[in-house]
């Protein structure tokens, strides 16, 4: 029997507000334990929540960014459960009336096509603190810095069938929220955490199987691996006639498997009820419009524009708009050197490779847009061959100045002087007379190979500075003339 995997995702997105969702404590990652938790975050007696308006604005921005219906009157609810890192014994969340209602998010796939994902809802809530198990032997510490960090929980319909779709969605989501500036979307630091609801059903069936929920997967790669592992596990059980237990599971990256969380932690009745300490959030049309007006150009629109304005391929455009910094870099370089295709190629090729290798974001690239534009300009005007271009790029990366300064300092100017090139060709031909003879006796396919040999020799003799187009022309003429 063949099986179809059905998945829905829940993403917890930390919003990049200056302070917490219900208190004035700073909302920053990485501070000393419990140094960023005030009396409200600690759930001290008599403390009351006060809603951070920036968090509301960010949620509305997200809703508008995915064309969702905005809940004009949403309410907060208490989700009750006991856990040491949940100071009040309840989490303030939105259960009955969320701020972002149904919407459709168009996710670009790698082939350039768009894949629509239905968003069920997105709601505001507060993050819990962290239980720290590895600091005090035999004991658990509680760090409440994270308690009260604003979260937007984004829930999809069960629209995913493959890991590739799920990862594409998460990447598109990451891209959208960084464009909106509402979150850094950093999965490693927990700014974006993903729960995967996954079930299997026989291919062709339209009912759903029993699902499991894989909690807190924290990288794109782990999402892919967790889906593969859980799919395999469920398939094996189903094929052995064992039913799936609805439960929460964790992905263990070291063993590349999912395992069950203790049932005690999942069999919860959260006893939701409206939070009496907070008023409903009431949003006017004017407010929603003002947020809409202030939205930046979003990835989907930018992608369309890049394709139309710069004649880029779907693929290149999708990659360039994946982060606002990439897109800004590209557009800055293009204003300095109007060669969009060449700039895109350098960015998606050498520049991305170098950035990935060093693990730094494009915003911190040692090769700034004006440097890359200067390099592409020198290639376009024939000063540099693309091979020399790579050398110049290396030097740019090392911080040796602008492309022109590097060309000057290293004497890398491409040789296009016909007299000098003719002499080079003649020298190489006289040093390789056997090959000249072979060329003249050969058929055209063999001749192409030998041309390659000669060009290689000539480039070597010129230290790479000979203009390859001119060499080709002069060489072919010389070989064919006798």
């Amino acid at each position: 029997m063949s099986w179809e995997t059905v998945m829905g995702l829940e993403v917890h997105l930390q919003l990049a507000t200056a302070s917490k969702i219900f208190s004035g404590a700073a909302n920053k990652f990485g501070a000393d334990p419990n140094s960023q938790a005030c009396a409200v975050d600690l759930g001290m007696p008599g403390m009351l929540p006060v809603l951070n308006e920036q968090a509301v604005r960010y949620a509305v921005m997200f809703g508008l960014g995915i064309d969702a219906r905005i809940g004009k009157r949403s309410i907060f609810d208490r989700k009750n459960y006991f856990y040491p890192d949940l100071p009040k014994g309840y989490q303030v969340s939105q259960f009955f009336e969320p701020i972002v209602c149904e919407g459709v998010f168009q996710v670009p796939l790698s082939d350039g096509s768009l894949f629509p994902i239905r968003i069920t809802r997105a709601h505001l809530e507060e993050d819990a603190g962290k239980s720290v198990h590895d600091r005090f032997p035999g004991q658990t510490g509680v760090d409440l810095n994270r308690a009260g960090t604003p979260l937007l929980e984004i829930v999809t319909e069960p629209d995913f069938r493959t890991a590739e779709q799920a990862v594409a969605y998460l990447k598109a989501l990451h891209s959208l929220v960084t464009y909106l500036g509402i979150s850094d979307g950093n999965m490693a630091e927990g700014s974006m955490r993903c729960d995967i609801n996954l079930s299997l059903r026989p291919t062709g069936s339209d009912s759903y199987g029993t699902r499991t929920e894989i909690k807190n997967v924290n990288s794109f790669r782990f999402v892919e691996k967790a889906i593969a592992a859980e799919t395999a596990r469920q398939q094996e059980l189903l094929e052995d006639g064992v039913s799936i237990v609805q439960e929460t599971r964790l992905y263990d990256a070291d063993r590349d498997e999912t395992r069950s969380m203790r049932s005690k932690e999942v069999a919860n009745d959260y006893r939701y009820f409206p939070e009496p300490d907070l008023l409903p959030i009431v949003l006017t049309d004017d407010y929603i419009d003002s947020v809409r007006q202030a939205l930046p150009e979003l990835p989907a629109a930018k992608r369309e524009r890049f394709i139309a304005q710069y004649q880029l391929s779907d693929y290149d455009a999708a990659l360039l708009v994946s982060s606002p910094d990439m897109a800004a870099y590209f557009e800055k370089a293009v204003t300095l050197c109007d060669e969009p295709k060449a700039i895109a190629n350098w960015m998606l090729g050498d520049l991305s490779a170098a950035l990935n290798k060093e693990g730094i974001p494009v915003s911190q690239s040692p090769v700034e847009p004006q440097n890359l534009a200067g390099l592409v300009a020198r290639i376009t005007d024939g000063t540099l061959s693309s091979k020399l271009g790579k050398q110049v790029f290396e030097a740019l990366w090392q911080g040796e100045g602008s492309a022109d300064q590097i060309i000057e300092a290293r004497g890398l100017r491409q040789v296009s002087d016909t007299g000098a090139l003719e002499k080079l060709v003649a020298d190489v031909m006289s040093e390789n007379q056997d090959q000249v003879a072979q060329y003249r006796a050969a058929d055209s396919s063999k001749q192409k190979k030998l041309i390659g040999f000669f060009v290689g020799q000539i480039m070597k003799a010129s230290k790479g500075q000979a203009n390859p187009q001119l060499i080709n022309k002069i060489l072919t003429e010389a070989l064919d003339s006798d």
């Binding site: 001290m44 007696p45 309840y90 006893r271």
Partner: protein, 492 residues
């Protein structure tokens, strides 16, 4: 002590004396501290005395007055119900759970009263976490009614009511979730006022039921209540539910008559639940208001009885969440040697909370549980709206609603301990007012066999002024509020 009799002195009288310079705040504070020392062992109304703090702020008050920098209540001693967080002074909510809790912050009400110049003498006894109508659920033992030490002072603000009645302080704060200011005021023969929900910030008040809790003044007279209320009110950025409405000068609002004021009498408040002697006293008080020019009209509050059930779903439900933070992890009581996390939770909470608190947490948890939410909590919310509508309708034909504050005079200590429902019935006339968020005042309406009973006046939302004015007119005509129990009369 000059001509001031502290067993019956009002804050307004003390302010006059302080202004005239016939007494200093330091002298006054020392005198009240002596009274507390002398009488408190019998009434157990005060659980924490801040001797040094009180003397220091009294001295500061005298200096401020000398410099002409006084506020409306400068130098007047006051007691806070032990539910208001007071920075540096232990705040227990009369619970073992918080027996050693010293908050690093003060409630907005405390800050505001400090700014107005009060001298805080200490903290008063109360029902544990404000859950009770007799002050018997306190971890510190019951407070006793100064009119009869074998009887309860009412609750939950029982200590605050008993303290004012016994002359341990001219002013005290209370909180009222279902009658916790008005019922003890009634039983102790003092004036107690719960303003409109949202009038006074809840920030720093330890929560019982957030949608119902409201602080208010407990005083000897309506005039004192007005003075105190003006200092307590106002929008607070720290409490999202505090109301953004102008704060009138409640003291000047007392001026004027009540001619033509229509006072509605709900027939449900005068049913057979009401003790006949209480009914007689209430009717006599209403006659006085009529003599002032008020017009008595009949109104209906048809869902008064359902108010009890509604209240006892909503309040425990909210409490079950509000009290979840007392888990032994960060503050409050923690059991010895927990074996694991569940043991830590279970024993810390079982040891830290008394029976009534545990009962309400269980009731509230049940009412919110999967499968019961619609039948209990949701239904209760619907009835709550109906009760609000009842009041709205009644206020179409009247300007005030009047009735008893409690169905009976103070009952003997222990009489209702084994019957929670009988205890809950104590609040039958008060808790609908909380469900509707309205202002409610209890003023003394006479004595029955030397035990006080209060008249309740209920107003429209944010119309505290009319309520206070009517109460004040009654006190201008009668002397019920001037009567004091025997115990405090002994001059020190």
């Amino acid at each position: 002590m000059n001509s001031l009799d502290l067993s019956s002195a009002t804050a307004a009288q003390l302010i006059s004396a302080l202004r005239a310079g016939t007494i200093s705040s330091l002298e006054l504070t020392q005198a009240y501290l002596q009274r507390i020392e002398k009488f408190n062992p019998a009434v157990n109304a005060v659980v924490t005395i801040d001797h040094e703090g009180a003397l220091a702020s009294a001295a500061a008050a005298d200096q401020a007055r000398a410099k002409g920098a006084e506020g409306p209540l400068t130098g007047v001693p006051l007691l806070h119900k032990d539910i208001f967080c007071t920075a540096g002074i232990r705040t227990t909510c009369a619970s073992k759970m918080l027996a050693n809790f010293e908050p690093p912050y003060s409630a907005t009400v405390v800050e505001k009263l400090n700014a107005a110049g009060v001298v805080t003498l200490g903290k008063t006894n109360m029902d544990e976490f404000a859950m009770g109508s007799s002050n018997e659920t306190s971890y510190f033992g019951p407070s006793f009614n100064p009119w009869d030490l074998k009887r309860v002072p009412g609750g939950s603000s029982g200590g605050s009511a008993a303290a004012v009645a016994a002359g341990l302080a001219p002013l005290s704060t209370g909180t009222d979730t279902g009658g916790s200011i008005r019922q003890p005021a009634s039983l102790c023969g003092i004036t107690g006022f719960k303003p409109t929900y949202g009038r006074i910030s809840r920030f720093g008040i330890i929560a019982f039921a957030s949608s119902l809790d409201q602080a208010g003044p407990m005083t000897r007279t309506v005039e004192d209540a007005a003075l105190m209320l003006s200092a307590m009110c106002g929008l607070d950025a720290n409490d999202s539910t505090s109301a953004d409405v102008p704060v009138p000068n409640f003291h000047t609002a007392l001026n004027g008559d009540i001619k033509g004021l229509r006072i509605g009498l709900p027939k449900e408040y005068f049913s057979d639940m009401l003790n006949a002697d209480v009914a007689t006293s209430i009717h006599a008080a209403l006659k006085e208001l009529e003599a002032e020019g008020a017009i008595l009209v009949d109104v209906d509050l048809p869902h008064t009885r359902q108010g009890i059930a509604t209240y006892y779903v909503i309040a425990p439900a909210e409490a079950s969440a509000n009290l979840a933070r007392y888990d032994g992890v960060r503050f409050g009581h923690r059991c010895d040697n927990p074996t694991d996390l569940m043991d830590l939770y279970a024993r810390s909470r079982s040891e830290g909370f008394g029976d009534e608190v545990q009962r309400r947490i269980l009731v509230g948890t049940y009412a919110l549980s999967a499968g019961f939410y619609d039948a209990y909590f949701k239904k209760a919310q619907q009835v709550r709206r109906i009760i609000s509508e009842d009041f709205k309708k009644a206020f179409e034909v009247c300007d005030l609603i009047a009735g008893p504050s409690a169905p009976n005079v103070a009952f003997p200590v222990g009489a209702k301990n084994d019957d929670p429902i009988a205890m809950y019935m104590e609040d039958v006339y008060t808790l609908s007012v909380n469900l509707a968020g309205l202002p409610g005042l209890s003023v003394p309406a006479g004595l029955i066999n030397d035990l006080p009973i209060g008249l309740q006046l209920i107003g429209r939302p944010f119309d505290e002024e009319t309520v206070l004015r009517a109460g004040h007119r009654l006190q201008l005509r009668t002397d019920h509020h001037l009567k004091t129990p025997q115990i405090g009369a002994d001059q020190s």
